[in-house]
């Protein structure tokens, strides 16, 4: 471990110094002797796996939790925050990952809410908001209701909100998790511009490319403590990742096609009517085929029907039109139209749900009990109407070993495992059923880099052995890295197709937001993509859903099922 201080900001005074911060929760030490120095005017990234202690550290800095040990200095003075109000007074603001905004209030009202005492609510406030909107790149009419805004603009409203309250140091908590690549670029441009105006940013992320792009220095947390601070320009993403994980990463890129001509899943003209009884279709004429040995990736901004597609295939929703066929034992495709979820699973579909705590696990039950879930009707777990507990237990032990699930034994409750280990267990369980098809929704969402690498490796291995995989993901790197073919979903339809060996994340991002459908293919100006998105959102209620529900969640919290 070595401490290297970036040259550029070496001489500027420290805006924030956290020294020896320790925070204990019952059973866990979330922060253990964390040291962080953020210099004035820099963008300082804080990196780490999930559970490394980033969130806790930021909550301490923002006054939401007091540290058990250690000191906080802001602009050279020792401070003690009793609540966020104190932190705001000291010039610290936080843009939360899940926006704290009221949909039915206007942009201006959202900014003013709770801060009426600063500049009143009249013309002075209006003027100040206009100034801040200018510097943060928020180009919307402040008098329209928030619900008409896209995610990127909402984020800017959050930024204006903290600036309005006088923040000079802005904490951005996973700000890019909810954005498509173009929006990320716009955000970074804004951050740089504001940096030039003298604002200081603390940028929480575990997307290493972004960290390298925007940050002037990066502090890495691992298992609750600081591993070191580095100059992101000088190290590679891979080195950064290894710093976070603490071990050598497996090499992600080795690809030879294993796609066969055997169709495993075929969707033809699949449609799903909206729950509200309207004419609107949540899924509209979806057709594709997944072959044995093939990973078919579905890209799309969340809320465009991916969740519904997965649930319809699993039999949790009833299609209003179209066919779902799965290859049977003899290789012939069999219509699943009237099969329920259990029959579909028995027919050979494995399922990694997007929300593992609600759909994938019985949290309070032991791991070996969770091994039964979804396979309670099939051998080796089922013996007629009885459950073979020993088989479940030994199979659970195997999964724990094969998939590197970090747990003392299989008797502990699923809830006591970290998210990544829970997910590894789910992947192991679903693959242990020897499925012909795996429906994987966001299989590595909210898991750490180590678990992600392992899950990817397991999916590739299964694919080599002829597994067909339908992969839905918001992580474009994952989609491009794993898929043999990618479809882009927009408002319930498959709008375009991409070859993962040639497509770039940025191109995918354009297709996901519908930009690439614009025929005169002028490179959109900064903000154009988001404005386009906003307009569309105003057009159809469905896309408005998109906007509100775009919590591409990262930590343990995940967007609920609609």
């Amino acid at each position: 471990m070595s401490e290297s201080t970036p040259d550029g900001v070496q001489d500027t005074p420290a805006a924030v110094v956290l020294s020896g911060i320790t925070k204990r929760f019952p059973g866990v030490v979330a922060n253990d002797d964390v040291n962080l120095t953020v210099r004035e005017g820099e963008v300082h990234a804080v990196c780490g796996e999930n559970g490394a202690g980033k969130s806790t550290l930021m909550k301490i800095l923002y006054g939401m939790q007091p540290p058990d040990e250690g000191t906080i200095e802001v602009a050279g003075e020792r401070v003690q925050f009793r609540g966020p109000q104190d932190a705001i007074r000291a010039g610290i603001g936080m843009v939360h990952q899940h926006f704290m905004l009221a949909d039915n209030l206007t942009v201006r009202e959202n900014v003013l809410l709770g801060a009426e005492s600063l500049h009143g609510i009249g013309s002075a406030a209006r003027k100040r908001i206009a100034e801040l909107a200018e510097s943060s790149g928020l180009r919307v009419n402040p008098d329209i209701p928030l619900e008409r805004l896209g995610v990127a603009d909402r984020q800017r409203v959050e930024i204006v909100k903290v600036l309005y309250r006088g923040a000079r140091i802005v904490i951005l908590d996973e700000p890019t998790a909810v954005l498509v690549p173009q929006e990320v670029d716009d955000l970074f441009e804004t951050v740089r511009r504001m940096q030039a105006q003298g604002y200081t940013f603390i940028f929480i992320s575990h997307k290493l490319d972004e960290v390298r792009e925007i940050a002037d220095s990066v502090t890495v947390l691992r298992r609750g403590t600081t591993v070191g601070t580095a100059d992101p320009k000088r190290i590679s993403s891979r080195e950064l990742a290894e710093l976070m994980v603490g071990s050598q990463l497996p090499n992600p890129e080795t690809r030879e096609s294993t796609v066969t001509s055997t169709a495993v899943l075929r969707l033809s003209g699949l449609s799903l009517a909206a729950d509200d009884g309207s004419e609107r279709r949540v899924l509209d004429d979806i057709s594709f085929t997944v072959h044995a040995g093939e990973v078919l990736g579905i890209a799309g901004v969340e809320g465009n029907g991916q969740t519904e597609l997965v649930e319809t295939i699993m039999g949790l929703r009833k299609a209003s039109a179209g066919r779902i066929e799965l290859s049977g034992a003899d290789g012939e495709l069999v219509d699943l139209g009237h099969a329920n979820t259990r029959q579909r699973r028995e027919a050979g579909i494995g399922y990694i749900p997007e929300d593992r705590s609600r759909y994938g696990l019985l949290l309070t039950e032991s791991l070996w009990t969770n091994r039964i879930l979804g396979q309670q009707s099939r051998p080796p777990i089922a013996k007629g109407q009885l459950i073979d507990r020993e088989a479940a237990r030994s199979s659970a032990v195997e999964i724990v070993e094969d998939y590197d699930v970090r747990t003392p034994n299989v008797d502990v409750a699923a809830a006591s495992l970290s998210g990544g280990n829970q997910q590894k267990f789910i992947v192991g369980r679903e693959l242990s059923g020897n499925p012909a098809l795996l429906v994987a929704a966001h299989p590595t969402r909210g898991v750490d880099v180590g678990a992600q690498a392992l899950i990817w490796e397991q999916l590739r291995a299964a694919r080599r052995q002829g597994l067909a995989v339908l992969l839905v993901s918001a992580d474009l790197d994952e989609l491009i890295g794993l898929s043999d073919s990618i479809r882009v979903m927009l408002r319930g339809r498959l709008v375009s197709e991409a070859d993962p060996s040639t497509v770039t994340p940025s191109e995918l991002g354009e297709a996901m937001t519908g930009v690439s459908e614009i025929h005169d293919a002028v490179e959109p100006a900064a903000g154009a993509a988001t404005e386009n998105d906003t307009d569309d959102a105003a057009d159809t209620g469905e896309a408005a859903d998109t906007a509100t529900d775009e919590h591409a969640a990262d930590d343990d919290t995940q967007g609920g099922k609609r």
């Binding site: 070595s2 298992r223 403590t225 710093l243 329920n340 309070t364 879930l373 089922a382 003392p408 006591s416």
Partner: protein
């Protein structure tokens, strides 16, 4: 070891707390708590009270099981009250009318009771899965309807026979009765206690060893995860309510086949609500419910003993309420503490490995 502690500590604490609270109440009301506790403990050694306690506990066990089956799936079957009363009157009428050889006669009555209970539970089950009517609402109303049905069926114009000021069904002949286990002067323990025990075992087996039991528990623990795992919520709701209703149907059988031989207007009501408390006390566990049933029955008997020595018998009601409340609270506290402890243990168990990781990683 820790499992035992998790299971047994909360009820012990809860009972201790309830005793403390009741002692305070007794002192305030001017009675001597030691005399009260002495009377309550002493009655256990009177043969008749002990026998009565076991007999009541048999009934409470059945009703606790019926409620617990619903609880497993987060179904609050308040309708156990109506289901058991409806089943009792139907079984009593059928049992009194039939003429069958011994054993078979009793068996038929028991089957009829279970079927009648299940049939009455079908109504809320169908309402819930087809129309989304919450089972609490529908079963409360059906309880009231059951009361009317029982009164109608037992009336002299229908199947009732009037004796003095009381009306009840035609008595079940000896061939349909279940002989008890006699303890001489102390009384007779219901023979049905054996059947109740077998049911408890069946409940345990069903829950822990069968596919149905797993699906039942999974649906209760997380309806969404169960659905994703291929469990049909509607099917489970219907089956669960029917099974709960069938067990509820047996609640009146110990008394009907072991002591009263007829069901009438003086037959006890309200067991269904006791069952909720007993199931809560027993944490839906077959052994726990047995413990809860015994405890509840003993407190019930204490009411008579305390009244007998001039101590307000309401103290037992206070104690019953306090125990239920504190057991629920205590289990929740212990559950959380145990989960935190387990997370801590998991963290500790894994801490050995990352130690090397912490050193690793160079720039």
């Amino acid at each position: 070891m820790s499992v035992l502690r998790t299971r047994l500590l909360p009820p012990v604490l809860a009972i201790a707390f309830a005793i403390l609270l009741c002692s305070i109440a007794l002192v305030i009301s001017g009675a001597n708590p030691f005399a009260a506790m002495g009377a309550m403990a002493g009655q256990l050694f009177e043969g008749t009270t002990a026998v009565d306690t076991i007999n009541s506990a048999t009934v409470y066990y059945l009703v606790g099981l019926a409620v617990a089956i619903g609880f497993q799936m987060n179904l609050f079957n308040i309708g156990v009250e109506g289901q058991y009363r409806f089943a009792a009157i139907v079984a009593a009428i059928v049992g009194g009318a039939l003429n069958l050889p011994p054993v078979l006669h009793a068996f038929v009555i028991i089957v009829v009771a279970a079927l009648a209970g299940a049939a009455y539970a079908t109504i809320p089950a169908v309402l819930k899965v087809t129309r989304g009517v919450h089972e609490v609402i529908s079963t409360i109303m059906l309880n009231s309807i059951a009361g009317g049905l029982v009164a109608y069926l037992v009336s002299v114009d229908q199947f009732g026979v009037q004796q003095g000021n009381s009306v009840s069904t035609e008595p079940i002949p000896a061939s349909g009765q279940i002989p008890g286990i006699s303890f001489g002067a102390a009384g007779t323990i219901f023979g049905f206690v054996v059947i109740a025990g077998l049911l408890g075992f069946g409940y345990w087996f069903l829950l822990t060893r069968t596919r149905f039991g797993f699906e039942l528990r999974a649906s209760g623990l997380s309806p969404t995860a169960a659905a994703a795992g291929g469990v049909s919520a509607k099917k489970m709701t219907v089956i669960t309510l029917l099974v709960s209703g069938a067990v509820a149907g047996l609640v009146a059988m110990p008394e009907l086949l072991g002591r009263d031989y007829a069901y009438g207007i003086n037959s006890t009501t309200g067991y269904g609500f006791t069952g909720i408390a007993v199931a809560l006390l027993g944490r839906n566990h077959p052994a726990g419910i047995a413990f809860g049933a015994l405890l509840w029955a003993w407190l019930d008997k204490s009411a008579v003993s305390l009244d007998n020595i001039g101590i307000p018998k309401e103290i037992t009601t206070i104690m019953q309420g306090t125990i239920v409340l504190s057991v629920v609270v205590a289990y929740e506290i212990v559950r959380r503490a145990e989960l935190a402890a387990e997370q801590r243990r998991v963290g500790r168990a894994l801490a050995t490995e990352p130690a090397s990781v912490r050193e690793g990683g160079t720039l």
